[in-house]
Subunit: 651 residues, 2 copies
Amino acid sequence: MEQKVREIGSRSVKITDAFWSKIQQKVIDVVIPFQEKVLNDEIPNVEKSHAIENFRIAAGLSEGEFYGMVFQDSDVAKWLEGVAYSLIVKPDEALETRADEIIGIIEKAQQPDGYLDTYFIIKEPEHRWQNLHECHELYCAGHMMEAAAAYYEATGKDKLLHVTERLADAIINRFGSEEGKEHGIPGHQEVEIGLMRLYHVTGKEKYKHMARYFLEERGKNPDYFYEEKVKRGWQHWGQYSLDKLDVTYNQAHRTIYEQNEAVGHAVRALYMYTAMADLAGTDADERLYQACRTLWDNIIQKKLYITGGLGGNSEGEAFGPAYELPNDMAYAETCASIAMVFFAHHMLEMDMDGAYADIIEKELYNSTISGMQLDGEKYFYVNPLECEPGVSGKLFGYRHALPVRPGWYACACCPPNLIRLVTSLGKYCFSESASTVYSHLMIGQIAQTQKAKITVETSYPWEGHAVYTVEPKTDKVFTLAVHIPYFVDFTKEGAYLSVNGETIPAAELSIMMKKGYVYLTRTWQAKDQVVLHFPMEVRKVYANQHVRENAGCVALMRGPVVYCFEGADNGDLLQSLRIPKNLKAEAYLCEDGILKGNVLLLMDGYRMAGSGELYSEKPPVKEKVSLTAVPYCIWANRGENQMRVWMLEEF
Amino acid sequence: MEQKVREIGSRSVKITDAFWSKIQQKVIDVVIPFQEKVLNDEIPNVEKSHAIENFRIAAGLSEGEFYGMVFQDSDVAKWLEGVAYSLIVKPDEALETRADEIIGIIEKAQQPDGYLDTYFIIKEPEHRWQNLHECHELYCAGHMMEAAAAYYEATGKDKLLHVTERLADAIINRFGSEEGKEHGIPGHQEVEIGLMRLYHVTGKEKYKHMARYFLEERGKNPDYFYEEKVKRGWQHWGQYSLDKLDVTYNQAHRTIYEQNEAVGHAVRALYMYTAMADLAGTDADERLYQACRTLWDNIIQKKLYITGGLGGNSEGEAFGPAYELPNDMAYAETCASIAMVFFAHHMLEMDMDGAYADIIEKELYNSTISGMQLDGEKYFYVNPLECEPGVSGKLFGYRHALPVRPGWYACACCPPNLIRLVTSLGKYCFSESASTVYSHLMIGQIAQTQKAKITVETSYPWEGHAVYTVEPKTDKVFTLAVHIPYFVDFTKEGAYLSVNGETIPAAELSIMMKKGYVYLTRTWQAKDQVVLHFPMEVRKVYANQHVRENAGCVALMRGPVVYCFEGADNGDLLQSLRIPKNLKAEAYLCEDGILKGNVLLLMDGYRMAGSGELYSEKPPVKEKVSLTAVPYCIWANRGENQMRVWMLEEF
């Protein structure tokens, strides 16, 4: 691993990107206010949240019973974290005041010893910390820490930060490897991320130390959850019981250093990997970094959908076996893809390898934002790569994979996760080390790094063109390292990188390029311009032969965008369509309708027509047809219809 | 519909066929004795059956508690039915004596009012007939009636027949459309078949009348099971509860005349269709015949696996939506394919259409006998068309589809069903009307029809050659109608039909041929010989474009036999193999190893080799390889390995 470099923080970045500003705006104007109303139980026909009311009751400000999931508190935390980032993107005094009020309630709900979880405060104060396996107390604590750190960074206000410091101290008092402490670990990882965030904001070693404890304790005693269950007399929480105690589900089967395969619940796993990578970079811990690499490689080589989706097994919302990536049965939870961005981001900080930035791009342009309807009002939790009306969302095996985005779920994990990803997008754009400013993503923005103000103008992902205008804040030499997406080939016609209008010859570029970044070192002058340009070709992608589902198939990509075919454009029986061997696809900007502003693909292809019989010895006949593909991330915006990412190819 | 013709009965047929004699022998020598031991709880490491002991307890011959499923009695009934047919194939005095003893116990267990069901006699005498939905009393009764009829036909002994007549009378007393009677219907159809069998044996109209009642009452009140549940205070039987009351599962959602789609539990459905077809033919009931046709056509056109498997939805062991025929998730229960033989057989009796005989062949050579391991010792209940070790039998969605045949199940439906099919094979071979003897199947045998003794010698299904030697018992003109399998084309070289060495010209044959049968009318002389000969080509079969799973794929058949590819012959990654457009497959007789005696296929094909990456823009490269296909019915006899019926084809 290399010297860890740090993100410059979303505070220092203003997104001006055509593609992303629209999404940020949707999230800020639609999703955040909607969720606020849900949290306050102001939306009819949405399952009662009661989440803020739970805090009020716990604070003694209201009377009543706890209502909701055992992890209901986390909904408030995630919303607050999203609000924090949104206040950076778009200051909103009224919203901030309302957030402050909620923080005030949370503070009042906190117990004198620092404990904070409304389910147990209200309902079972005698059972605190006795069911780490199912009861999400540490998970909720982690989200509250993330919210507190974000809110402090966004507003400078430290009330929630202090609340979560007290909470963290209560956790430190109770858990740990020291004698007399409970050797506990969370059933759902997240507190590790929260503690690292607290550490980064406060600089207090004890929080980082505690994050390491939770990570390294995990799997040391694979029977921990079982023993906990015996100890509490086999009680379990409400409807939520993981009776089988398959601890691979919680990644508690082995220590993190012994885990060499991504298994179990994908979000749990990826939250854990995220904290591992953060800690490895922060402590320059080579062993921990190698553990991260092992898991990363396993995912990249065997368990990642082309869309960036993670989790091929809907049972347990989990990673499946290697190469077992069913398209129509995929789980590919929106939250898992978001978590993969977190993981990749921390890996990138340790190793400036464009492969990580490429994965962040893959996630951002595909399996994360596919979770949100274009109007911002409905959400997919599950992002399948094939949809069959009448089967998807209906039949055994497919019930989780809905054909259209439903409204708000009672278990509202994905929409608030999308809020925080989209509003904090700025922090994934640039990193900075002593010598170098790294640009990871081609996203239009104005970034204030320590060494320069850098303005990026681009029409990416629709066009391969970006202009980086540098206004240095120093007269010393420094390096601007620009990430070149993996599919850009400077030896091909039309691809170039120029500095102040002077194209750098390909041969020279290849010397300046290291692991996906072009390193431009010079004494930068105001208004220096770097232009990155490359043709956006439609690329055919093939899956490994081990992937049963994709045998004989091809998927289309253009830039980082994965395309899919929908019935709305192509008629029914997408399985009878064939992509030609010599594909000539024309990309065009959709200028009207709900898909307006997106680049679609138009191509010639074939449709196989057979007899009407169920089985026939007459080979089907191929007919020429015109086919249209749309970006995967905007599928299912035109009602229920068939969809496929992987299409059979002419052999 | 035509005048109903009747089977000649398995008593009148002696199977001498190389292919089938071996299977009959395996069933008689291995499966029947094994099941007898199971029923008597004499096999260690097999879940206790207790079925005969239940009868003993009910008869007052033993003390103890009922044990087993609520339908445990049916295991004894099915075994007795199989024994009956086996005594025809191979007389066995000792076996017959033991069967007589069991029948004696059953007789003693029967209650004075005719009631017979050991679960309720022993355990809940006060709850008889109160849970038709779940409790299988009528189902068990139906199987006992079938056993009684078979045993009477095989041995001439009528003790069990009288038991079941008394039982049928008790049922008639209780149920019916008349006022004062309970308007009940069975939760699992079968009693309808049993009553028809009783009718055919005894000639008593009341049994046929009762079968009609159960068929026609069905669906008149779709809430019947719900109302029954309310009436009994929501009690349900043991672990067996169909709480959801989705009455399409039991085909009770509409009347039989309104049902136009095969839905729900496949075995329940097919038992019902079987009884419907039997009754339609028996009563020359055109309306009922049309109802059967509608359901038949729906299955043939939209819901049948190429192997003859039925039931694409493992949830509810049920028919899925039209064309939704997943290969690796198939249910395709052995029992459903056996029931399809019953259904087809009765349809054929009403309409001498070779299409029905072709389906009987499809079932016999593929998805029925695939249920049994070559050594007769292990059984598949589920017959998938694709198997992936590590996934099949293991992962969510695939747990039912085991990669190798397991041993005896507690719920032993399929092995005894196979016993009765295989031992009664003779009855599917010939039918006879006033003017005509119909030969349906190319199976080596000596058949005693009323008009002639007919000896069939054949090496089918491995070779397309059969010799029918006729020894007439009359000097009057009669017709021998020989079924010509649908894939035989007399206009092609090598295919011919000759009588006493004289080949009938193709043009003449086409006139003599009607719906798949060649009608040969003459005054038959002793030793007259009809020879049917046709080349056995390997045929490529394509699925309808609506079948998502089989898009781009081809399956191979030779004669009635469907082939599959196994890892044992072809290495791993069967999905990376391609069948050439211009296939040249060589059929050869396997001469050693466990597959000895089967005709395998050898062919050139391709293997696609890609990069080791999960996704790559480099198209996979094709390599020539040699491929081997084996009959589907003998798959999984060489340990756990990958298997596919549908293979991607060169485009």
